[in-house]
Symmetry: C2
Subunit: 213 residues, 2 copies
Amino acid sequence: MARKVKTRDRILQTALALFNEEGEAEVSTVEIAGVLEISPGNLYYHFKGKEAIIEALFDDFEEEIRQVLSAPIKRALSIEDNWIYIYIVFEEINDFRFFYNNLAGILERCPDLRPRFARLLRLKEETAASILAALEREGVIACSRAEREALAARFAAHLTFWLQYVGLAGAESDSRRTINKGVYAAMMMIAPYVPGDRAAFTELLDGYIASQK
Amino acid sequence: MARKVKTRDRILQTALALFNEEGEAEVSTVEIAGVLEISPGNLYYHFKGKEAIIEALFDDFEEEIRQVLSAPIKRALSIEDNWIYIYIVFEEINDFRFFYNNLAGILERCPDLRPRFARLLRLKEETAASILAALEREGVIACSRAEREALAARFAAHLTFWLQYVGLAGAESDSRRTINKGVYAAMMMIAPYVPGDRAAFTELLDGYIASQK
DNA sequence: GTCTATAAATGGATAGAC
DNA sequence: GTCTATCCATTTATAGAC
């Protein structure tokens, strides 16, 4: 007996899909209601307006991404483990990409989200930094504290903007492939810090991305 | 006898300022006309609509950034020369930042700009690649072709998104300082490829940014 | 070139019936 | 919870006078 999905949830789900597809600015509350085949009035019963919908979607996103970023990475020192980990982060961002595609606009109209989003950025940096520190301890990479911090910041920025970047360069349709390229690019940032012959490391990466396509 | 500035130019100038300040989506044609103290009708005499204004602004931006990116860098192998060069690119982007702050939305409504913007991205990459190649030839850095290409792509992405990134982390007001930090971050991407003790190179950078603040 | 006036369309929002 | 009906505000866009 297929349990009836609550209208509130259907609104969120549909809004998310439309926002991701057409861009948040391009989607009106009327359109969302239209796709759902409910009345605008009904939509307004559940959410005071578009901002309320966006904030509710951000709640979901924040919870999920926090869970991913805060998950202690157990023995994630192999290339494979790190690859998968980064892949998952990208996937999460991809699911809420509408947000990243119009950050300035959304934060303008939902000022409450600004500090929360800034915190997420910091969490990304911290997570990257702690992974790098672990790699450093195990001798996988060798770099100074200053380098590690700069690298962590770059990492966070990469996670934040990569999907947008490929979208601009020319629409790549296959998201799995796109994300794998993003993971590859992330790993390449680490390569020069691998002691000894980093060429071997690079070749390992090349092999890995080839196997992923 | 102060030559009268053409209305068309005043529109572009005012629109650019408002777009940068409040975000393109937040500014209507009526508002632009209001600030200029001309009638909306008059504005529509000069431009068919907001899209036309945006495209005209993009024309200006494209011309200027092309000039900067295509300028042959003569003997730009010193830290100082490269620093200044990157600074100028950032400055140009900063002057038209409204565009970068709402890329998805603008490209949605002005599809003509999409390929042109993509070309600019490629130009950024090519420029970065050729600078890196020069540095390689002179022995300033040492890296493989694959590494150089990955680095060039990262460089282009950095130029594209850095200003947005700091804007999100917490609004830095002083643009000169922000840009200098962006240049520093760019230089730090090169550091690990400097042969010998890269620590010396890093210290040089630290000294340089300290002198710039 | 510039203005006034106004049309036409859209999106956000609410009241009140069912 | 949901709908219909409606209102208000904003924005784009045009016609025609000066």
